[in-house]
């Protein structure tokens, strides 16, 4: 560690930031996917039974999207 130059430290910091941003988007994306999985299948089933609730069903499905948006916000703030 002792023989690291300043440039190397800066570069590794930038790399860590990029990794952090990637984890933020990736993990929240997976989480959103898992959450929307069961809501989505239930919503499609409910819409098949009664077409009128499509709007409400869509609303339920997109609620977990907020998670990945937060991930994206964090990632963008990390990078820029």
């Amino acid at each position: 560690m002792a023989d690291m130059t300043l440039e190397m430290v800066q570069a590794s910091q930038a790399g860590m930031k990029a990794l952090g941003a990637a984890i933020a988007v990736g993990a929240t994306g997976i989480a959103t996917g898992i959450a929307e999985m069961s809501i989505g299948s239930a919503a499609v089933g409910a819409t098949a039974e009664n077409k009128d609730i499509f709007g409400l069903a869509l609303l339920f499905v997109v609620i977990p999207e907020t998670i990945v948006i937060f991930g994206l916000v964090v990632a963008l703030l990390l990078l820029f």
Binding site: F54, G55, L58, L59, L72, V73, L76, L77, F80
Partner: protein, 656 residues
């Protein structure tokens, strides 16, 4: 504009002999939303029964059923017919009596002939199937059956059967296996059967034909093609019949449907021994014409009057009342839910804000032009009211994308030369390095502002809704609760601003600390927060759990930047691959192979940008809709209004 069409409740009472005249008038007015009469035991409803259909009703229904059977069989659809001129009802009625039966008969006889021919074709196919195993057998089929003292077996077999009784064998191999024909004396039938069974014999039926099998197959194939030709002829005749009569048939369908609908209307009225009552809704502005029309149509024998509306009990049907600009957006509203009669109809706000959000997300001149071209080009292809509404929404979204494309200075992901972006920069430095990249903090703050303003608007609508709908103490509490939500939101904002200086926000950090390191704005913000929470709790303590949504809903508008930047990034990557990696290097030393690569690059460029436009349309449309449905509507909108569906029909093919 912000309220649905004003509705009036009206009652029509007339003697029973006027029922037909009244129904006819109601139908032609196309204004009266019938409130179905339900038989009930309540006080004041004794003696009323549901009415009987008009006398010609069952005949009309039968006629309609027959007509539908014919139109279904030859696939006549009203949407495919473009009628230049409408047929007068009286002429149509006489044609229904004179011409319709002959047309129906003609179609039916053709249909019968076709099904007979199809059955015949099926039979012939079956015969060919039984004959086909014997196609390679060089023996007259007569020799395979009709014996008194011989048993004949025919079938596929793999090994030679082990048979020790006198017999005669003939084999013929074909693609489907080895055919074996075996003759034995009738007395040895059982032994032969056992031996064949041991050799895994699969019997096939012996055809009831004479002559060589091959010739017979040939003969039947000829016959089959004759029958098929005949079926084709019948289909052709049906097609030309359809071509000739479809305008007439859809007009008949329309007329008979209206007749049937009119005949069944009394089923929705209340009747006594000598009179009937029809209750329903009409737009307030039409009350006068309605009452007058009723009296004229019956020679003054029908009584129509406006009734008082009971806001608690009555379910008032809702008809939008919007300017023509906002009309298409009613489609987006109906997907969610039609507004209730008493609440604010936000269609106009949605019709303005939806394209703005869409434009902020897509924000590219070229993509905007593509969306606009798509919306205009599909106008002829997609018929139907809902499709047209959707295309108009798309058209507005496309125009908005072009405007925001100029504001962001973007064209297919490139900057527009000579135009500095007026809004925070979204250009990504993909491939070329350098450049200062997108102004993410400014973009974020921009979306936070959009969110705060959008939510404030929603809360103001909420205040108006509660002030209008609720009564007494609850009304004050509900209004204050909405004020409380606003106080909490702005309180948090001021408190944050007093500690951090953020771009695009007023700087409140410069104030001197008053107490415990906190400045004056911080105290104001905290005060607003506490008062706001108190207002909320007074209305409903459970709402406390919803407090974090203030933060999450405002930050949710960051999706405008997130989705927008991702579409810019995809555009940049497409440009890098197509131009930077494929086309540019080849242009330096042009070779024959290089030209191919350049063409590949052009294809990548075109497909990539088309895909990105589709993605952008989906993303831009869905995310903007979601921001309205989840973040905006939850602040004030309940929905669940009943659709105003007047009794009557706009005739397309016939006229009175």
């Amino acid at each position: 504009m912000f309220t649905p069409e004003d509705m009036s409740k009206v009652l029509v009472v007339a003697p029973k002999d006027q029922i037909e005249a009244v129904v006819k008038k109601l139908y032609s007015l196309n204004l009266f939303h019938i409130e179905d009469y339900v038989e009930q035991e309540e006080e004041g409803y004794e003696g009323y029964r549901i009415g009987m259909p008009l006398p010609h009703g069952s005949d009309t229904s039968r006629e309609l059923l027959k007509l539908r059977a014919v139109t279904n069989a030859i696939a006549v659809q009203a949407d495919d017919v473009s009628q230049k001129e409408r047929i007068a009802s009286s002429r149509l009625r006489s044609r229904i009596e004179q011409d319709l039966p002959s047309v129906e008969e003609e179609v039916e006889s053709l249909l019968n002939r076709r099904s007979r021919l199809e059955a015949e074709a099926k039979e012939i196919e079956q015969v060919i199937e039984t004959l086909s195993p014997f196609a390679n057998v060089a023996v007259d089929l007569d020799l395979l059956r009709g014996y008194d003292n011989l048993a004949v077996f025919a079938g596929y077999i793999n090994a030679k059967p082990d048979l020790d009784v006198p017999h005669e064998v003939l084999t013929a191999s074909s693609k489907s296996g080895n055919l074996l024909i075996l003759w034995v004396s009738a007395g040895y039938r059982n032994e032969a059967e056992r031996a064949l069974l041991d050799a895994q014999f699969q019997a096939v039926p012996i055809p009831d034909e004479s002559g060589m099998a091959q010739d017979r197959v040939h003969y039947y194939k000829g016959k089959l093609s004759d029958v098929e030709k005949e079926i084709e002829g019948v289909n052709h005749a049906l097609d030309s019949l359809k071509e000739k009569h479809q305008g007439f048939l859809v007009a008949c369908d329309e007329l008979l449907s209206t007749d049937a609908e009119m005949a069944e209307a009394p089923l929705r009225f209340a009747t006594t021994d000598n009179a009937f009552l029809a209750e329903g809704w009409i737009p307030g502005k039409d009350v006068h014409t309605f009452i007058e029309g009723m009296s004229v149509a019956t020679g003054g024998r029908a009584f129509a009057t406006e009734l008082a509306i009971d806001m608690e009990k009555d379910v008032i049907p809702v008809e939008y009342d919007n300017t023509s600009f906002a009309k298409p957006t009613e489609f987006l509203m109906d997907i969610y839910s039609r507004p209730k009669y008493t609440e604010i109809d936000p269609t106009l706000m949605v019709s303005i804000i939806f394209p703005i959000f869409f434009g902020l997300i897509l924000g590219d001149v070229a993509y905007g032009l593509l969306v606009l071209a798509l919306a205009l080009g599909l106008r002829k292809v997609i018929t139907g009211d809902e499709g047209q509404m959707l295309l108009k929404i798309l058209r507005n979204a496309g125009i908005s994308s072009i405007i925001f494309g100029f504001l962001f200075s973007e064209f297919l992901g490139f900057g527009i030369p000579g135009i500095e972006p007026l809004l925070p920069n979204r250009h990504l430095s993909i491939g070329h390095g350098g450049g200062h990249g997108p102004a993410v903090p400014e973009l974020m703050m921009m979306t936070v502002w959009i969110g705060i303003l959008h939510i404030t608007l929603g809360r103001i609508f909420g205040i108006v809704n509660h002030a209008r709908q609720d009564h007494g103490k609850h009304r004050t509490l509900a209004v204050l609760a909405n004020v409380g939500w606003l106080l909490v939101m702005y309180g948090i904002l001021i408190a944050i601003l007093s500690m951090f200086a953020l771009p695009l926000m007023p700087d409140l950090t410069g104030w001197p600390a008053v107490m415990a390191g906190l400045t004056m704005p911080a105290f104001i913000g905290l005060g607003m927060l506490i008062v706001g929470v108190l207002f909320i709790v007074r209305d409903s303590a459970l709402e406390i759990v919803e407090l974090p949504t203030i933060l999450s809903h405002v930050l949710s508008y960051a999706r405008i930047v997130g989705v927008g930047l991702s579409s810019v990034a995809i555009a940049g990557v497409v440009n890098l691959i197509a131009i930077g990696m494929l086309i540019e290097p080849q242009l330096e030393h042009l070779t024959a192979f290089g030209v191919v690569i350049i063409i590949v690059g052009a294809v990548v460029f075109i497909i990539g940008h088309i895909l990105n436009t589709i993605l952008g349309m989906l993303g831009g449309g869905l995310q903007s809709m979601r921001l309205h449905y989840v973040e905006f509507f939850t602040k004030f909108y309940k929905g669940g209004g009943k659709k105003y569906d007047p009794f009557g029909m706009i005739k397309k093919f016939s006229e009175d």
